[in-house]
Symmetry: none
Subunit: 125 residues, 4 copies
DNA sequence: GTGGTCTAGACCACC
DNA sequence: GTGGTCTAGACCACA
């Protein structure tokens, strides 16, 4: 039983995503230290092993690096790297679905553009 | 343990969504019969009760209706109803996230528009 | 076998009705908590799922609302809502049968009125 | 499990009720023959034993009588008898509930009277 | 503790 | 065959 349904995104991926977002936002600066595995585990109410896995993954992606005994740090160039990765992901995975929806729901790009300009104003004001 | 992370969408909601998509695509015509609870349960490898719940929800939304002993049928006007609902959902829930990403990744609307035109051509050709 | 006879009202509907009556009587106050699914299941000697279904139905009717992990609560305006619904039901379903009986049994409205005034006195005294 | 909920009225009682209604309506005349147990069983899609039980009960109430080998017949005075019985039942069982509802729903007797006059007109026209 | 969801399997009424 | 209801018991997320 329980057929071909969308599974929940793995928790370690969600943690990695959170880190990436903070790098993009500038909350985490390049070469800056990120919170320890133990800290993050407590803050996010998650098992330290899960955080460990997230950090490992980020390290493999060359987004962060580790100094033994000192902790994890944001790689120089991480922001650009993340931006590229996320951009590709958005273009290859998100956009097609998004476009498909626009088409099915008969929403014009103009309509969306208007919304976007309103969105930008809302953020500025 | 396991903090404030995204929950998996309920299976019965995913089933309901599938039906809605098929209505939008025209795969399910108005006043046409949709597959029985038991059939769907088997093809989707899910418990009949779960399908029942999905159909019940769709019925409450006035998207489908039931004839006892005969089955479930697509309501007339269902397509318009679904289109409206999904449109609102996209505008209120999907777009803000999408716009936030565009901003973070510094992608211009023009870039997206170009992709969309390519997408449309790809479908046409 | 067993022809076109009256079906038993579904248990979950009877539970919902009980809740509605208590709201009308003022036993359940607006914004007040109602007994939990499990509690009700035990006191009414019914499966929790059946109570769940009753509560879900009441929620869809906007008579009660839920706070996750805290319980179900009576909606503000529930009493008025219930009163309206029950009034319509009485007028459309109960009255015609009642009138038909009066006619068949040749009971005059005056006779009933007298009984009603006695009934009111009985309650007052 | 399954607590103190209203049970379905016994089928034999529903059959007896049907007979009574027909007597009241004049469909079944006094001293007239009523359809045989076997006939009724087929028409009502019910087991003959159930019909037998209904007829027995009506006989005990002195509403019908039996002539061996000929069938069941409506008793003279049956209409008056039924009328009395039903009247008492309506006054003792139905009216109190009905009055309770009127009170809870704050419906005035005048309102009901108006409805009744409309009901009578609807039947006459 | 709460509600929310799911599974497994049962019985009923309708067609 | 269909849908409609109910039971029994399980697991999850939230507080």
């Amino acid at each position: 039983m329980s057929g071909g349904f969308k599974k929940q995104q793995a928790i370690y991926e969600q943690i990695a995503d959170t880190i990436c977002e903070r790098i993009l936002q500038g909350t985490l600066e390049e070469d800056g230290k990120i919170s320890s595995i133990r800290e993050t585990a407590i803050t996010m109410e998650v098992n330290p092993n899960t955080v460990q896995r997230a950090y490992e993954w980020l390290q493999q992606q060359e987004i962060i690096y580790t100094k033994r005994g000192r902790g994890y740090f944001v790689n120089s160039g991480a922001m650009e790297k993340v931006k590229q990765t996320k951009k590709e992901q958005l273009i290859n995975e998100v956009l097609p679905d998004f476009f498909k929806s626009l088409q099915l729901l008969q929403i014009t790009p103009e309509e969306v553009l208007t919304k976007y300009q309103k969105f930008l104003k809302g953020k500025t004001s």
